[in-house]
């Protein structure tokens, strides 16, 4: 029926009245034309006015009025029972808050389209690859020369652009002492145009900035950065800042809302890809993604095909330059990589990749919590409508239709849901930033665009409606089906209602079990990871990522010069020892290579290598078990100026010795590696150290080779301090700069931070899942208590009679609670099944735990049982202590 026309009628009352008058006048006129007298025709029609009102009544929503009346009545009903109403609203609000939080995060990270023109025709290039563990994976990093080839390959079907990986950098608008952090992104000059963006001030980058490597020191800042750093001062355009060794001029401001292409990072400034000067010519520096915008009329498949051909040709060419002993499978895999186009409509970022699964899992968990809350409220309402049975019966007997009763009850539910949603939104506003804060390390926070717009509002409205139907429909239909005679006579058979309530309890218990089971898995994973031995010391270890001004020719410095800087650092009060390596352990960087041993097959497996200074192993607390440390300026295995191999010293760890020397003393033995120009170089083992983690704490202790650091442009100082490392950062940074000679600290961090960064995702999942487990448990407990309480109240007379006839306390308790505890068991069993089935969806996020471990299974079971007993105790005690005489006299 046309609800809309009725509502319109309410507002178009006058016009309606006029039209009715006109229609009736027309009738009289027709009657007169047929030869009747006006008076007679009017009489026959009856009072025109009366008819008008009758017609109006039908058209005009009496419905609207009933709606209003029902709303007022519903509101009064809710207010009359503040306890139940409060409990219902609070439990729903908790769940809705959690669901909305999950939605806001998922939306911001995965779904929200970028604020650019036609985001649907944007794609990012990806290729199939294999990860360290040998599993199929996908990569999206490209080098500039390849970008040029791909660009030519699709010239007339798609426009491609360089979209650099976002990164945090030190920049300064003044001296070195005023360094500040800002997020940078390299973009093709054409990118802004291809994205269809217009400047908010000044100009954006243009194709002119795609010409000379290092020749376009201009920057476009984001609107947010413009606001926070410059207070939207128009004079910001034209200002200069220094990043690294280059001075950039700000030429414009990007439009409001555009914060870069990586959800999770908000870019502060964009600079032309050409400014990554050294990388432009290098085929093995992958530092960017490639985005494509399809031209109108071009198909995804056609573009993909052309890109694929270009990629394969490129890789075939590059494979020719591979070391002769590169395992065939690897070459094969490299050449046959498959090129894929992935939608970039919602942006592309590492955060998306890392958090897609956790977000979906958290979403599923909060939905379970929502269902638990709905079941709770449904039970509360069912108990509630039981006590209103007589009211309903009365309404039916004076002629209320069933639809009208459902409407009345559903409106009450809607009021509940709407209040809960409002409260939930407030909770979500408070929770979302808290969760975002947990995603990344404190010094490199995830920055998400979390606007309050129609997407969130619409979601909340849909949620309120959905929830209303979920918990309200059942009780409303049930209550409206009341048969007046039965109700008046003292109530219908309450069994049916109790059965529904018990079934809902079983569902709650099952979901609660699943949530606890998952929480157990995630907490277990986090615990296992945290207790993983690292093999090195993290205490009071501060790390200075340092670089030298200049190109790779002029900036590369020998070990002697780095050691001089290390000496300056050592002189700082509070420093115990200093050493350096090309990068820190667990920093995410890795150099891996195959090794060749006499009388042994070449293995496909790669071993980690790390360049270190003398004393680095000692500073890091990695103990020597045999042999010696490196000497000062000791030669590393390599090639000399004439490309002839030169033997060098290396130190291996025990895992390496176990793998290649069957655990025998490796000192004095040697192996070969392949150096530049495809020549085999002898590595002489001079020492053996204990195992330490290298790239991640998730893998087994990796076989590792430490090599003397001969010369480098970039290295990380590991500084062991006497006291807390935090306050020393600035002093140490200045020490390095004041050493002169172009040395400059790029970033300061601690070894402890690098370790904890390894577990951020696991920590987040553990914390949130425990939080939701507690919420779920509280909700289930409240539900259990409510249902049992209701059962005792309802069966008061029956219990009274049983007691009067001599039933013992235990008997009564078993009688009242027995069925419910059976449901508890059924729910737990179902939960167990669902939990075990869900395990494989989360398997990739687990470490060292399995759902089949006894503690993981027993903990939720025990928790649920204890909480169930606690929740059930008060009503059961009340039942047992009931005075039969009083129970029978009531009513």
């Amino acid at each position: 029926m046309s609800l809309l026309s009725r509502i319109c009628n309410v507002f178009g009352k006058d016009r309606l009245r006029r039209e009715l008058d006109e229609e009736l006048a027309d009738h009289i006129e027709e009657a007169m034309r047929a030869g009747r007298s006006q008076a007679e025709a009017e009489r026959a029609l009856g009072s025109a006015w009366r008819h008008r009102e009758r017609s109006m009544d039908i058209k005009m929503a009496t419905w609207m009025e009933s709606l209003r009346a029902d709303l007022v009545f519903g509101f009064r009903q809710l207010r009359q029972r503040p306890g139940v109403t409060g409990a219902a609203i609070l439990s729903l609000a908790l769940a809705i808050g959690a669901v909305t939080t999950a939605f806001r995060l998922t939306d911001a990270v995965l779904l929200r389209p970028l604020p650019v023109a036609d985001p649907q025709s944007l794609f990012v290039l990806a290729y199939s690859t294999v990860d360290e563990a040998g599993k199929a994976s996908e990569g999206d990093g490209f080098a500039y020369p390849q970008f040029v080839e791909l660009k030519d390959a699709v010239r007339d079907a798609a426009d491609v652009m360089v979209v650099g990986y976002g990164g945090r950098n030190d920049i300064t608008y003044g001296s070195d002492e005023e360094m500040e952090k800002a997020y940078r992104q390299y973009l093709s000059g054409t990118a802004f145009g291809l994205l269809g963006l217009q400047p908010a001030a000044g100009r954006l980058l243009t194709a002119a900035e795609d010409q000379t490597p290092g020749g376009h020191p201009v920057a476009v800042i984001s609107y947010d950065y413009w606001t926070s750093r410059f207070g939207r001062d128009p004079k910001a355009v034209g200002r200069t800042f220094r990043q690294g060794l280059t001075v950039y001029e700000i030429v414009g401001v990007a439009p409001e809302g555009f914060t870069g292409t990586e959800p999770g990072t908000m870019t502060d400034y964009f600079i032309p890809a050409m400014q990554n000067g050294e990388a432009i010519g290098k085929a093995n520096w992958t530092w960017m993604r490639i985005w494509a915008r399809l031209r109108p009329g071009a198909t995804e498949a056609a573009v993909q095909q052309r890109l694929q051909a270009s990629l394969t040709a490129h890789r075939r060419e590059r494979a020719k330059g591979f070391a002769a002993d590169t395992p065939k499978v690897r070459v094969e895999q490299f050449v046959s990589a498959e090129l894929r186009l992935r939608s970039a409509a919602a942006g592309v970022s590492g955060i998306q990749k890392n958090y897609r699964e956790p977000l979906l899992i958290l979403g599923a968990v909060v939905l379970l919590v929502l269902f638990i809350a709905c079941a709770n409220v449904a039970n509360l309402l069912t108990a509630q409508t039981a006590s209103r049975e007589k009211e309903m019966a009365l309404r039916v007997s004076i002629g209320a239709g069933r639809g009208r009763l459902v409407q009345l009850l559903l409106l009450e539910c809607l009021l509940l849901a709407a209040s809960a949603t409002l409260l939930g939104l407030v909770l979500a506003w408070w929770w979302t930033p808290l969760v975002v804060g947990m995603i990344n390390p404190a010094d490199n926070p995830v920055r998400l665009n979390l606007p309050a717009d129609w997407r969130v509002g619409g979601f909340a409205a849909l949620l309120a409606l959905g929830v209303t139907i979920l918990f309200g429909m059942g009780p409303a239909l049930r209550a409206s089906a009341v048969r007046p005679m039965m109700a008046m006579k003292g109530g219908e058979n309450p069994r049916g209602r109790r059965r529904v309530m018990h079934a809902l309890i079983a569902v709650q218990v099952a979901f609660c079990f699943v949530v606890h089971f998952l929480a157990g898995l995630f907490v277990g994973t986090f615990e296992r990871l945290s207790s993983q031995a690292t093999g090195f010391t993290t205490e009071r270890m501060i790390l200075l990522e340092t670089g030298v001004k200049g190109t790779s020719e002029t900036g590369t410095r020998p070990q002697r010069e780095w050691a001089e800087v290390a000496e300056r650092i050592r002189e700082t009060p509070g420093v115990e020892s200093v050493a350096f390596s090309s990068w820190a352990l667990l920093s995410g960087n890795a150099w891996s290579s195959t090794v060749r041993l006499p009388n042994r097959e070449i293995e496909a497996r790669e071993n980690y290598f790390l360049e270190v200074s003398p004393g680095w192993l000692k500073t890091m607390g990695i103990d020597l078990t045999r042999g010696r440390d490196f000497r000062r300026e000791e030669r590393a295995p390599g090639v000399d100026a004439e490309k002839r191999p030169t033997e060098g010293a290396v130190i291996v760890n025990e895992a390496f010795a176990r793998l290649y020397f069957d655990g025998e003393n490796p000192v004095g033995r040697s192996f070969e590696t392949i150096a530049e120009g495809n020549v085999a170089v002898r590595n002489r083992i001079v020492g053996c150290v204990r195992d330490a983690r290298y790239r991640t704490i998730r893998e087994v202790m990796p076989p590792t080779v430490y090599v003397p650091l001969e010369k480098t442009q970039w290295a990380t100082f590991a500084v062991k301090t006497a006291g807390a490392p935090g306050p020393m950062a600035t002093a140490l940074r200045q020490r390095v700069t004041s050493a002169g000679n172009g040395f400059r600290v790029m970033n300061v961090t601690t070894q402890a931070e690098l370790v904890s960064n390894q577990m951020i995702r696991e920590r987040l999942l553990a914390i949130l899942s425990v939080f939701f487990a507690i919420v779920a448990l509280a909700l289930a407990a409240v539900g259990l208590y409510g249902v049992l309480n209701y059962a005792v109240l309802q069966r008061r007379r029956e219990i009274g009679i049983r007691m009067a006839l001599g039933a013992r306390t235990g008997h009564i308790a078993r009688h009242v609670g027995g069925e419910l505890f059976f449901m508890l068991l059924v729910g737990s069993a179902a939960g167990l099944g669902m939990g075990l089935a869900s395990e494989r969806f989360v398997a990739s996020l687990l470490f060292g735990v399995s759902g089949r471990d006894l503690p993981v299974l027993a903990t939720p079971m025990a928790t649920l049982l204890v909480v169930a007993i606690l929740a059930a105790l008060p009503p059961l005690v009340a039942a047992a202590r009931m005075d039969p005489a009083r129970a029978l006299r009531s009513e």
């Binding site: 006109e22 229609e23 009736l24 027309d26 009856g46 017609s55 058209k59």
Partner: protein, 109 residues
């Protein structure tokens, strides 16, 4: 909530049937149509015609439209909707069944 009694039901049926046969009709023409085609046996109470029409319109069985007559006055004409056509079939069947049953009772009692 309005109840549908037998009388109202038959008026609805007659309106639907008449509208299914003839082009758009206004209220007065409908009334005279019912009288004429029943051989002047049935009379339509003019007072209940318009509420019935508006109710049928609300139910979506008929639709109305304003047309301008030769004398410049407007007239509201009604026609059947697809939904109304379906409803007519249902109502006609029910009516046939009921009248057959009544005839049976009259004959046998």
């Amino acid at each position: 909530m309005a109840k549908t009694d037998g009388l109202q039901g038959s008026l609805d049926l007659l309106i639907l049937k008449l509208l299914s046969r003839r082009a758009p009709l206004h209220g007065y023409a409908l009334m005279t149509g019912i009288i004429e085609s029943s051989g002047e046996v049935l009379r339509v109470e003019e007072g209940s015609l318009y509420p019935a029409l508006h109710r049928l319109e609300e139910q979506g069985w008929i639709q109305a439209e304003w047309i301008t007559k030769d004398n410049g006055r407007r007239s509201r004409v009604y026609e059947l909707t697809e939904l109304g056509r379906q409803q007519l079939t249902v109502a006609e069947e029910r009516w046939t069944a009921v009248s057959a049953a009544i005839r049976l009772v009259l004959e046998r009692a």
